[in-house]
Symmetry: C2
Subunit: 244 residues, 2 copies
Amino acid sequence: MPVVKLVLAYDGSRYAGWQVQPNGPSIQAEVERALSALHKAPRRVTAAGRTDAGVHARGQVCSFPEEIPLPLAAYSKGMNALLPEDVAVLGASLEPDGFDARRSARGKRYRYRIESRGTRHPLSRAFAWQIFRPLDPAAMADAARRLTGRRDFAAFQAADCDSHHAVRDLGRLDVLPGGETIEVVAEATAFVKHMVRNLVGTLVEVGLGRRPPAWAEEVLLSLDRKRAGPTAPAHGLTLDEVFY
Amino acid sequence: MPVVKLVLAYDGSRYAGWQVQPNGPSIQAEVERALSALHKAPRRVTAAGRTDAGVHARGQVCSFPEEIPLPLAAYSKGMNALLPEDVAVLGASLEPDGFDARRSARGKRYRYRIESRGTRHPLSRAFAWQIFRPLDPAAMADAARRLTGRRDFAAFQAADCDSHHAVRDLGRLDVLPGGETIEVVAEATAFVKHMVRNLVGTLVEVGLGRRPPAWAEEVLLSLDRKRAGPTAPAHGLTLDEVFY
């Protein structure tokens, strides 16, 4: 059976996360409502990653098998007419039988935006963690280099993460300085829950000068969640791309 | 009397514009409310530019004379605690007697963001004019070069603009391509009402291939508002900086 693959972008600000849940609106529910309206029958989708409440996406991917798919324009233009303004389909394609947005993914890239200036800034308030003290991006980059590779990320795993283990291959953890803005780009085959936000919280401790860069690796090696920095706020995080 | 100068940033989405007016909330009213609370007495401010409804700022400037100014931190940290989250003071300074945010300004820079892709995009919906067809930035840049200098911009002036004449010195009108995003940067000693939005609307006609680059100069020379392109939507425009 052919599989429909959708690339999605969303502003996660007003959602309780990707996944359908009782305590608030979810992006998944919006997508399934629009798809079901198009097909005039219920449809369920699988997503590459279940983004947390408040997390954004410019390249989330979801998929569902469909015996006789609609013309692809129905999944882009048609969906975009039905979805709320904070969710959109950027592209639609057909994949062979067996494709699954989650299981077929080879990796994902997340982007975390930090801003450092003396005051809050209204224009990026929904898309960046605004920190009112100076950060040292070189120290953050030094710390980040110590965390890449195939490692056990238990120290950066949310307490309620349901993964059996936390060994992941973090191929890239780059700290990109740009004046008042610092972007952290993380690429891995897979992530444990809150991994990027916990890594960013730890890098920021180093950037603020509270800890030396070597401390980040001590945290990693400790496998102890209590030693890592605070979880960075969700609204700075964007799921950038999923690789297949 | 010393003059307090404030540099402001705001997300103009939910405002009827800078200026206090009967038909909706204004940024000026928010700023004056916060200032009056700080001073425990009414305060009125003058701004460098009266931005339209929906227009944003990252460098608006306002000022007011003050016999005995508060410590500057009161105008930054103090104001930011009182202002709504879509308005902020980025900096405060004291200027000599006679300074006025509007009359003392030597020039202003605006930035207009256009995005061109096949679909709408939720993450920039409040800050860019999203156009669902391809644009030719080279043709737009060609047209823009024909519009700079000291010229009569009557063709790009809003019908209800109360300026006596429309001669302005447009020092810079750059079209900066960046993949799916095109930024138009306009710098002038002063602007007539809707000038940047009318210039952008005209450049977009050229970018869409509906008109050749030379047409933009024909519009300028005609002095006829009816010949220009449509007024570009307000939410793509940001007042970037005011020069003194």
